[in-house]
Every structure is written in C-alpha cells, then in structure tokens.
C-alpha cells in the first residue's frame, strides 16, 4: 500500500471521525497495520510537525491533528503489538512530581512513537523513583515534562538522581528554557514536540 491520501489528509486536518472510519476500513480489508501507520499516519504527523517548525502550523492545529491520530492509534495499537516490530530505541516520558499537565507530554510521546521509538508513558506526578524504575527496565533516555513554575525545580532532583545511570535526560514544557536545561545538567531540551524527537535522537547518537 502506498500512502492513503485520504487518511493522510484526515490526520492533518484533524478529522477524527474520518480517521477512525478509514483506518477501520483498511483494517477490515486486511491491509498490513504497520503499513497504515508508517505510510500514511506517521508521515501526516511528521508533516504537521514540520509545518510547526516552519511557523506554518501552531499548537491548536497540532493538538487537533494529534487527537485524530490518537483515534487511529487506538484501533491499531493492539494489532501492532501482536505483529511486533523492531523499535529505534526505548525511551520513557512522564510529567514531574506535583504536576498533572499531560497534553504536551502526550503530544511528545506520540511524535516519538511516530518516529519509531518504543515509548514507556509514566503518566503524571512522577517522582525520581518512577524514572529510575524506567531506566532499570531498559529506557535509554527519559523525558521530563513540567508546565508549572512550581514543579520545574524538581527536574533538577531527577537529573541528579539519574546521574551515573547511563540514561540520557531530556526536559521540556512551557516554562522550561535551554538555559535552565543546561544549568541543571540535562542532556537535551526542546521547546516543541517536533524538536523533541530530534533532540532525543541527538542525545542517543542516532542519525537525524
């Protein structure tokens, strides 16, 4: 199967009912599930990410697209797990302790999945131990998200707690800056979901 243009457009335009309908149709037809994802849906998210980087799309459009993408993933996920395929690497992502904002984190997680990573989603309100456990179960990089100025300082504790573990730490979220990331000794930073993928690849020494 080549790219399903209708599906590609539906993800970009954030048309959730259309995405669900087309994905279901393809699945029913017996199309390879990895193909549906890799040829149409991920390229659509990547395209929206690129547009975002070029200032041709903004957060609302990206979230609307992500929501449609998620509807498709909900159908594909169980089927994909059954099919099993080789990921780029294993990463963990979570919102830090005291913070419950997860919309941005989920978007980053989706883009990472789209780029081919196996993503462990640790959820919200994560303390140092949660991240340590993730590293113990094989995460090569952990990504921390914080949306509150009151929870951002906790990132420093996590960076320190993970020193020597060998895992790379990347941080992000609206109040976080590059300077702050450098200051606390994080291995990477990005201010949007698209660059988050690039930064993760860079931190793990993978080709962009």
């Amino acid at each position: 199967m080549a790219r399903n243009e209708a599906l590609f457009e539906a993800v970009i335009k954030g048309k959730r009912p259309d995405v669900t309908a087309i994905v279901q149709q393809e699945v029913d037809k017996g199309t390879n599930v990895a193909e549906i994802l890799m040829e149409s849906m991920i390229p659509a998210m990547a395209e929206i990410g690129e547009r975002f980087s070029r200032n041709e799309a903004y957060v609302p459009e990206m979230l609307i697209a992500a929501r449609a993408m998620q509807a498709g993933l909900d159908i594909l996920d169980p089927l994909l797990a059954a099919a099993g395929h080789e990921p780029l690497g294993k990463v963990a992502i979570g919102t830090v302790k005291g913070d419950l904002h997860d919309i941005g984190k989920n978007l980053v997680a989706m883009m990472l999945k789209g780029a081919g990573f196996e993503v462990m989603d640790l959820g919200v309100d994560c303390d140092v131990d949660k991240y340590k456990d993730a590293v113990a179960s094989g995460a090569q990089a952990v990504l921390l998200s914080a949306l509150l100025t009151t929870t951002m300082p906790y990132m420093k504790e996590i960076v320190e707690g993970l020193k020597g573990s060998g895992a790379k730490v990347l941080i992000g979220g609206a109040p976080v800056t590059k300077e702050y990331a450098d200051g606390i000794g994080a291995d990477g930073y990005a201010d949007d979901a698209n660059t988050a993928v690039k930064a993760t690849k860079a931190a793990l020494g993978l080709a962009a």
Partner: protein, 547 residues
C-alpha cells in the same frame, strides 16, 4: 559604580551593587520593567538593550563595545564593569497610569447591620492585577468613594503561580506583602481619605476579598502549598488587625478576608456567589469569572460544583506580540468586514500602542465571520495581501491593524497567527472547563438557563463576539447577566451587614470542587474547543448556521 539607564530620551544614573540584576537597577531608576515570570528568565517580557560595558548574562560573561547593542533579559543580567549603559525599549515597560479598572459594582439589597455602628470601613477587592478599594460610611451604609490601582506585585510577577514560586523564600513573601499593602492599599486609602476629607483614624474595619493566593500573601502567610499537589491552602479564612499588617488606618481596626472555597477557588468567588444569589436561581445557572484563573461555579437544584480552568493571562495581553493591558493607549474594540477596513477605539489617547483582551476577541470574531481567519485560527494570506495588510513577523503571518504613522510606538501594530493560537488555547481552557463542570452534573451547555459573568473583563467584552469565537456557549445573549465586580460588592456587604459573615461560611463548603485533570472529559473538550468556534459543531448551531 554608575550605570546609566535610558528610557524615552531620559537618563538616570544608579549605583550598581554586587549581584543586582539590571531589572532591579532599572526599577531603582524609576522604570517598571515588565517581569511576567517573576524574573525567572523564561518569559522574555523584560528585554533590554545593553550598551558599552562588561556584563554577566545567565552564566556567561560578555563585553559590549561602544556603539554596539546587545539584547538581553534584564532579570538574568548583572553589570560587572565600573560603568555601563542600558537602554529600555518601551515595550518592556509597564505603564502604571490610565488603567481601565472595573470598579462598578451592584450591592444587592441588604439590611444595614454593621459590626461597628459608626466610623468608616473600607471594602477591598485584591485582584492579581488590580486592587480596588471603596470607602463605606458605616453609619449611613453609603459607599462614599472608590479608588483603584494596579496591584504593585505585578512588578514582580504576573500570574498567581509565578507569585507562589517567588514565595519559596520568606524575604520574598515579605516583599510581596509590602507591595500589596504599603505600595498599593495604603496609597489607595490615602487617596480615599484625601478625596473625601476623612480622617484615617475613623476607619475602624476593613473587609478584603480576593483569590486564595492573594489572601495568603496579604496576611503574610506563605502560599507555597497551593502551588503543588494537592493544592491545599494553609487556611480558608484570615483575620488580623491593621497595625499587624502595616495598614495605615486606626491601629486596632479589624481586617477580615471573605473566606475561600479552595486553593484555586477563592473568596472573590464566594463573594460572587453571594452577590448573585446563585444558589437561589431557578434551573441551571453558571457563574464564570473570565480571567487568568477562569473560576466557575455551576448550580442546579441547590447543588453547586466549582473549578478553576487556568486559562492564563492571554486575555490580559500577555504572550501576544502587541498585547497590552486594558490601560491608556490600548485598542479596546475592533470591527471590520472582508474589506479589512479596521474600525478601532483606543482607551484614553488617540494613538494606540497595542491591543487588549476585548479587542483581540473582536478581531478574531470579525475575522472568522468574514473569512479572514479559518476554523484553525489561520489567515487567508491572499486576502491579507490583497488588502495590503500582510506582514511577516519572525517568520509568521501577521495582519497589520495600525500602520506606523497611526501607532504610538512608531512601529506597526499587528496580530500574528501565533497570537491567535494563544487566544485559542485560553478560550479553549475556559470553554472546556465549563463543559466538564456541567458533565459532572450530568448536564450540557444547551441546558443552561442563565450565565452570570463576574469580574472586570466581562464588563468590557462584546458578548456576541465572545460566543462567535467559542469562548462562551451559544445559548442566546438574553441568557447572559453581567454583574461587574462582585468581589468588591461582597467585601462591602461584609461591612454593611455582619450577618453576611456567617452566610459566607455557609457558602464555602457547599460547592464540590472538581480537579479538571482527574475528569475523563477535560482533555477531549479542550482539544475540541481549540477550533473556531468548536470542533463539536452541535454546540454552536447559531454561529455555524450564519457562517
């Protein structure tokens, strides 16, 4: 060491001490640089230009040569050389004059039964941005005079959470308390007394109403616990006497706060509930305070649920390229059609320097109606170009509202697509909060019988436009009621009738407070509400049928 600070052609020399930021130096020179994030280095509202000198910016030392200019964040820059020169752009300075402050209030019918039968009382609404005070004659029950000022805490940080972050250390808590009492309330009292020939010693009682964080700081109690889960305040009620807080009235005057409902649903909302008589309304009634914290309370058959939606300060102009507070020189209304001939009104002066929240709502609503702006908040670029209104700002499409000659800054005033996206996020947070709140009651927006809008901002917005962009539900303008500053009215009532004290305490444990993150629907509603007016088209039948 002398540092020369320049602003609008004037220069002031200040001594630079060790480790004082350029932000502090500028303030000492008398200019109030905007520090929306509280000097933490991530909002870029405090941009300044460095002239010749040696500086440390973040961790890095830099040298600026004569004739060179370097743009930096004032809060993250320290002067290291003996002499230095700093230039402050106008866009980084807070204009403290000419604020449009909603001090109109309607005090509902009540019995005159004050705790003190003579002398004067002062009712105060302590807002995150503005503080309004009313002088009340306790023997006659009349409001004699009203005055307002920006809450001087805005010099330190914009939103409540940034202020909580500052309170990490006790010295800063003290500074914030001084800013609201010594530098805001006391000058207001001074003005009220001078204007009416009242002696300060005759002021025997103060009632204050405000959000929970403001009340903690006002009474000198650290609000840090409200900043992180589970957002528990130290106390819901506060009482003290004037001398203990440094308030310039009769030393033993009693100061009491209107009690709060939770960490993010404060005494200002308790006041609004009481003033609007919310729990006695028939049918389904919702009270909304459209502002940074976006608090709302829904009431049905005597049952109340409440939440705060964290819309952020975008409606106060924050985060928008040419955003401005609703003060002198801000555009406050806009009207246009597909010819893009913008009809504007400006507060106070003929030439504008930016646009405030009410204007940006108008701008987006008119744009959506005439096809300039699509459902995702994006411009029809061809249309902008055809009408000579197109500009590219930092790689973004922008619409020129005011050209260089008509603008007070000498630069064009524009609205970028990024600005529109910021407003979409803020309006989505409010609408999604409302929908979630109703879902908890098993209700939908269409079932609402009445919406009560409280707070200063609601008085100045065009309701039809607010509905068009999907900020407020499409239920017919006649179902909306605007009550003005209910927080101030609630404080005044506390002075006029001592019975209200008990009534407030009865109110605060009635609403069930909902944490939006823990609900199943919020995220979905938020994402739907990011579009104009909403992806759930059935919510906006009238808007879409006209479109």
């Amino acid at each position: 060491m002398a540092v020369i600070i320049n602003f609008e052609g004037r220069s002031v020399a200040v001594e630079s001490g060790s480790d004082r930021s350029v932000l502090d130096l500028a303030r000492e020179a008398g200019w109030h640089i905007d520090a929306k994030c509280g000097g933490k280095g991530f909002c870029a509202s405090c941009n300044v230009l460095l002239g010749a000198g040696h500086y440390r910016v973040f961790a890095e030392e830099i040298e600026v040569l004569p004739e060179q200019r370097r743009e930096v964040l004032a809060c993250q820059t320290v002067v290291l050389s003996e002499t230095a020169e700093i230039f402050i752009p106008r866009s980084s300075v807070i204009a403290l004059d000419g604020a449009r402050i909603a001090d109109e209030m309607e005090i509902p019918e009540h019995t005159l039964n004050p705790r003190f039968g003579e002398g004067f009382g002062i009712a105060v609404d302590v807002g995150t941005t503005t503080v309004v005070a009313a002088l009340v004659d306790l023997s006659t029950g009349k409001v004699v005079s009203r005055e307002s000022l920006y809450n001087q805490q805005i010099l330190k940080a914009d939103d409540v959470v940034s202020r909580i972050s500052l309170c990490d250390d006790d010295a800063n808590l003290k500074i914030l308390q001084e800013l609201v009492i010594e530098h805001t309330l006391n000058p207001l009292i001074q003005k009220l007394c001078a204007g009416t020939g009242t002696d300060k010693e005759q002021i025997v009682q103060l009632a204050v109403s405000g959000n929970t964080v403001m009340m903690h700081i006002f009474f000198g109690v650290s609000p840090v616990s409200i900043g992180v889960i589970p957002f528990k305040p130290v106390s819901l009620t506060f009482e003290s006497i004037a001398v203990a807080l440094g308030i310039d009235v009769k030393p033993d005057a009693v100061i009491a706060a209107v009690p709060a409902i939770s960490g993010y649903v404060g005494g200002d909302i308790t006041s609004d509930i009481f003033v609007s008589n919310l729990w006695n309304q028939n049918g389904l009634t919702v009270l909304i305070d459209i502002g940074t914290n976006g608090e709302m309370v829904a009431c049905h058959a005597g049952q109340m649920t409440a939440c705060a939606t964290a819309a952020g300060p975008a409606f106060e102009g924050a985060g928008l390229l040419h955003g401005a507070r609703a003060a002198s020189r801000a555009i406050d209304t806009i009207n246009y059609d597909e010819t893009l001939q913008f009809e504007l009104t400006v507060i106070g002066e003929p030439y504008p320097m930016g646009l405030c929240g009410s204007a940006i709502i108008d701008f987006i609503a008119c744009g959506f109606r005439c096809g300039l702006i699509n459902a995702y908040g994006r411009y029809d670029v061809e249309m902008l170009k055809a009408q000579d209104c197109h500009e590219t700002v930092c790689g973004m499409h922008a619409c020129i509202l005011v050209d260089t000659e008509q603008s007070a800054t000498g630069e064009t005033i524009t609205v970028t697509e990024h600005d529109i996206a910021e407003i979409l996020k803020a309006k989505a947070a409010i609408y999604a909060g409302l929908k979630t709140l109703l879902a908890e009651l098993g209700k939908t927006v269409q079932e609402i019988d009445c919406i009560i809008l409280a707070g200063g901002f609601a008085k100045h917005i065009n309701l039809e436009n607010a509905v068009t962009i999907g900020l407020l539900p499409d239920i017919g303008i006649e179902k909306y009621k605007v009550i003005g500053n209910g927080s101030l009215a609630g404080a005044a009532l506390a002075l006029l009738d001592q019975g209200t004290g008990q009534a407030y305490l009865d109110i605060i444990d009635k609403p069930k407070v909902i944490t939006l993150n823990q609900t199943a629907h919020f995220t979905n509603y938020f994402q739907e509400a990011l579009a104009l007016p909403n992806l759930d088209e059935s919510d906006f039948p009238n808007i879409l049928s006209n479109h």
